[in-house]
Amino acid sequence: MTAREKAQVLDEAALDRALIRIAHEIVEKNGGTADLAFVGLRTRGVTLAHRLAERVAAIEGVKPPVGALDITLYRDDLGLKAEQPVVRGTEIPFDLTGKTVILVDDVLFTGRTIRAALDAIMDLGRPKAIRLAILVDRGHRELPIRPDYVGKNLPTARRETVAVRLKEHDGEDRVIIEEPED
């Protein structure tokens, strides 16, 4: 099944502005960078986490640590998938205990990925708090999970997909809605 671009949601400048605003909100709510740490979800959440940490560094002069979390081993749909997803590994080179962890992902949809990420983080340490930063919240939650920081709220139909395209992976910065071609 191929997908067709339906609409552009964020261009490069808008995506950057959203990240800058989220960085300011995080610093404000946290009262600085004390005990702050970013954990991105593989793959694009990690890239966004690094960008947010750099934005925070530009504001506060201190760059919080950034880790990468792979939630494959915590998924609840492993038995339902036809083919094995690739395990890319978790790399969190700092102790999570006592930290305020900002969990970062590109799109928030059903909330199941975040549920898995919460379990994964709890196995690694005992953070003081976990907050959720999301570039695009597209709705259709299946679990009681809500983001603390949102780049863009975007009402979507279930059949549509939201593609976050980032320079590091896709050669461009923009967010689009795609719909299946039928």
Binding site: L73, L78, K81, E83, Q84, V86, V87, R88, D123
Partner: protein, 309 residues
Amino acid sequence: MGWTRKDLLTMQELEPAEIGSILDTAASMKEIAAREIKKVPTLRGRTVVNLFYEPSTRTRTSFEIAGKWLSADVVNWSAPGSSAAKGESLLDTARNIAAMSPDVVVVRHGAAGAAALLAKALRCAVVNAGDGAHEHPTQALLDLLTIREKKGHLEGLSVAIVGDIARSRVARSNIHGMRKLGMTVTVAGPPTLIPPFVQELGVKVSHRLEEAIANVDVIMMLRLQQERMMGALIPSLREYARYWGLTPTSLGAARQDVLIMHPGPVNRGIEIAPEVADGPYSVILDQVANGVAVRMAVLFLLAGGKAQP
């Protein structure tokens, strides 16, 4: 690439990309060993049966730890003291185990093809943990992971495998895997321990230790399997140790950046001198640690993702 096989039986049947995907998955699993709480919920509710007809400590324990760290229930069924001692056939035992609905059966057996036989008879996944002198794929995979970690890549590397090649499933699995990944393999040992036609697997043969280990990236010493030695294949252990044992002296012929491997258990002072086994080039304990990671990867790929039949 995605994993689609029901079983892991041989290195011979795997595509290079499949080997790569097991190694990549295993490399990702290693982080779990460094955690304070060494457990992920991935295989919760899955059952792994270790069916071992030959004595094994390392491999069985390794599979057991791998399964437990992934939250699977691991059951050990060892032949001595079980129904096999009472005359039950392999297939009957397997059918009985299958009736208890396991998700993976890990089998070690003295007969080549035992794992393949079970794979055909059982609907669950089967992992070959050594079948006679045929194959031991997870050992080759953990060896490849260790070499890749230490050298950064595999293609283009040269390996000398030294010892009882004829009776070694470790050698056979490694030769298949290494050849597929573009590595050069030399086998070395006394003529009685080198199988005829071994060149057909694409390896070079050497009958002198110093010649075989000069200028290779990896030296893999095989255990002299005294329990499998039937007849007079070597004049004496002392003579074997003298000509084929890796000692500080014979190691002088090797490169400065060589890796020394051994699948264990080590016969100290026979195929390898203690100071070499414990020396700076030895990666024997890395091999053991990587064994758990590789077996986690294999269990995950076989039992983690597919809808159960």
